[in-house]
């Protein structure tokens, strides 16, 4: 319950690990409030110490509650049902039967055993109980919850999670340095990564022509596991990741990398290759930056890539379809100081133009070259890129086991009825029962037993 309550703010306030931009925005709009909230770790709620504290408390209380009950239950299974109470007339469905005492207990025992009751036969009475699996299921459910908590903890302490952007044609080797960003869990050793390599062969995206919404993404890779072994052709889709043990490779996002060639005034090639651009909308209008710190003076290009170029008076140039049908590369060329030496890290998708001045602007068609005075840029083509997320979570399988057992336990405990039936024969034949938690169905059973004993049936 506490964990539930504590998780509420996390769904109302933006979270750093999910949406860092929103958090920044929040800081800008409500600076004071944001500072206070940040002190309470509201923006990193699910990894905050107090959230962990509740988590651990829950864990301890579950163990403290479930373990003793498990031992008790195991003992109870070995034991016989408790003794028949002295006064049956206070119990549910009490009745005196109209039959001779002789043979009653034999008949009753036969019926109870046939109906899979546990029977404790005494000299003058029978005590029978059924539905132990209710408690078994209940305990299985709670033990499974503990397993899930352990699995989640294991996932938090071991494993790794990283991302990499690859252009079609590029190769990836699963080592920490190959990632654009990677985070390791506390006890994970960096050497323990699944030893595989991937080569991106092809990426295809299909779109619905009416709504422009994507309908399918298919990524073909040549994978080698371990590195250096023979490559095998594999397909990765959004809902079917590539799996190596507890490591999985997911297709997360995609976009375009325009291929450009840049020459200086003398015609010397300065740069040639694919530059990754970031999609800005569903039609993959993408923005990016080309930085040329080695030219003197330094040149920076703020660029947009439009897979299917279109114009509107309000929006200017934009892309009207996510597939490449009529591509344009829009470049605005800046000259001056890129500011790369200032020490503050820069985004590779943006140019800091504060110490630069613009010297040119051009919309390039495919295979077109633009001369911006200090040199030329040629728009030679484009490649698709894919963003792969590579996650190693060793706790995952256990969480799944836990979840499956939890369901099983829950069903068993909710749909099993636990009840007792007693028969006493001291002069007269008495019968009664007790249903735990007042669940229905006991009456029918008592009636059936009565009928059997009175010789009306069976």
């Amino acid at each position: 319950m506490m964990l539930g309550l504590a998780s509420i703010p996390g769904s109302l306030f933006p979270q750093r690990n999910q949406n860092p931009m929103k958090v920044q925005e929040f800081f800008k709009n409500n600076p004071t409030l944001a500072q206070w909230l940040d002190k309470a770790k509201i923006f990193d709620l699910y990894s905050s110490p107090w959230f962990s504290a509740i988590y651990i408390l829950l864990f301890i209380s579950l163990i403290g509650c479930v373990l003793p009950r498990t031992f008790e239950h195991i003992k109870a299974i070995g034991k016989k049902p408790p003794l028949t109470p002295k006064f049956l007339d206070r119990m549910e469905g009490f009745a005196e039967l109209d039959r001779p005492v002789d043979g009653t207990l034999d008949l009753a025992e036969k019926w109870l055993k046939k109906n899979r009751f546990r029977v404790r036969r005494e000299e003058l009475s029978i005590s029978a109980e059924k539905g132990y699996s209710r408690e078994s299921g209940n305990l299985l459910f709670h033990l499974s919850l503990i397993l899930i908590l352990l699995a989640v903890a294991a996932g938090g302490l071991y494993g790794s999670k990283g991302e990499t952007i690859l252009n079609v044609g590029e190769r990836f080797i699963n080592t920490p340095t190959s990632y654009d960003n990677i985070s390791f869990a506390k006890f994970q050793r960096e050497g323990d990564m699944a030893p595989f390599s991937l080569r991106v062969l092809d990426f295809k995206a299909a779109y619905d022509v009416k709504t422009n919404a994507p309908t399918d993404y298919t990524l073909q890779v040549a994978a080698a596991n371990p590195i250096g072994s023979k490559e095998v052709l594999k397909t990765i889709k959004v809902n079917s990741p590539l799996t190596y043990g507890s490591t999985k490779v997911y297709l997360q996002a995609n976009g375009y990398s325009p291929v450009v060639a840049i020459r200086d005034k003398s015609g010397k090639l300065i740069f040639e290759g694919a530059v990754t651009f970031l999609p800005q909308d569903g039609n993959l209008t993408s923005i990016g930056a080309i930085k040329l710190p080695d030219m003197t003076p330094q040149i920076g290009m703020v660029a947009s890539f439009l897979p299917t170029a279109d114009r509107s008076p309000t929006r200017g140039a934009f892309s009207s379809f996510p597939e490449v049908l009529d591509p344009r590369l829009l470049v605005s060329v800046w000259m001056g100081n890129l500011g790369l030496d200032s020490g503050t890290p820069q985004s590779v998708y943006r140019v800091d133009t504060s110490k630069m001045k613009r010297i040119g602007l051009k919309a390039l068609k495919l295979n077109e070259t633009y001369d911006f005075g200090e040199g030329t840029i040629a728009f030679e083509g484009y490649k698709s890129w894919v963003n792969l997320q590579i996650v190693d979570d060793p706790g995952k399988m256990y969480a799944l086991f836990g979840a499956s057992f939890a369901i099983l336990g829950l069903l068993t405990s909710l749909f099993t009825r636990q009840r007792r039936i007693w028969i006493k024969v001291d002069g007269r034949v008495q019968i009664a029962g007790l249903a735990k938690n007042g669940v229905p169905g006991l009456d029918e059973e008592l009636t059936a037993l009565k009928k059997t004993l009175e010789g009306l049936e069976g």
């Binding site: 319950m1 998780s7 769904s11 933006p14 999910q18 959004v238 909710l414």
Partner: protein, 298 residues
Amino acid sequence: MTSRNLAYLSNYSIYSAMFLYTIAFFSHAVEVSFSVKTTEASEKTTFDFSRTDRAGRIGTAMMILGFIFLFAGVILRGASAHRVPWGNMYEFSITGALAFSGAYLFALVKYKLRWLGLPVSIAVLLTLGTAVTVLYRPSAPLVPALKSTWLAIHVSAAIVSGGVFLLANTIAATYLILDRMEERGGRSEWAKKLPSLETLDQLSYRLVAFVFPLWTFAVIAGAIWAESAWGRYWGWDPKETWAFITWVAYAAYLHARVTAGWRGRKAAWLCLFAGSTFLFNYIYVNIYGTGRHTYSGL
């Protein structure tokens, strides 16, 4: 038949269903209102439901017909897009309305629940009305993330659980209203026909206990799917968080009843609270939420 025709046919079915639910609504309204009998001798109004039994039966018949049309509408919607019809909020809503009225009809077979017909028909009409006006989106294929067998499994489990939770909620709310009446000196005349407080209490408990494992399953199926689509089985996405909160709330409700022996008023309030977390998740998180469950199409 082309996809477009199927989509139109689906819309017509939904409209027909709405028409039938409207008749059901009026029949149930007539059933209640025309049973009022004011004799000149006394100031008090009394009710005579024997006079309006026919109206009630017409209401039930219309509810069944409406259910059939709604069912057809949902199926056709799926057929038009070649997929299960759970791709956006419009489709969640019509399927949710279907599950809710289905749960009502199912419970009607077992219990004397016709008194619920009026609120149920209002709720279904409101849901469908919002769906066709505000939430409607043309039938379209799914985005890649939704292309998975888990869509059918996870979403159907969630929708059915939701329908039953809301029915349990309606009953718990009725309990609270009647409870207050009895406290203030007896039920109003119109409420005398309704079942006893104990029956209502038991009924809402049984519905919750019955569907809680299904909800657990829906959450777990969601986690398995999230693992294959998003690379993690649990990420405290707003939708996941609220699904978890709903789960905890209902677990607390079940514990309170079984272990702490809560009955009646306290249990009904807890049930209402748990149900409202579900509704909050469905409405607020779908429309304003920022998480990854942003498939409402709005």
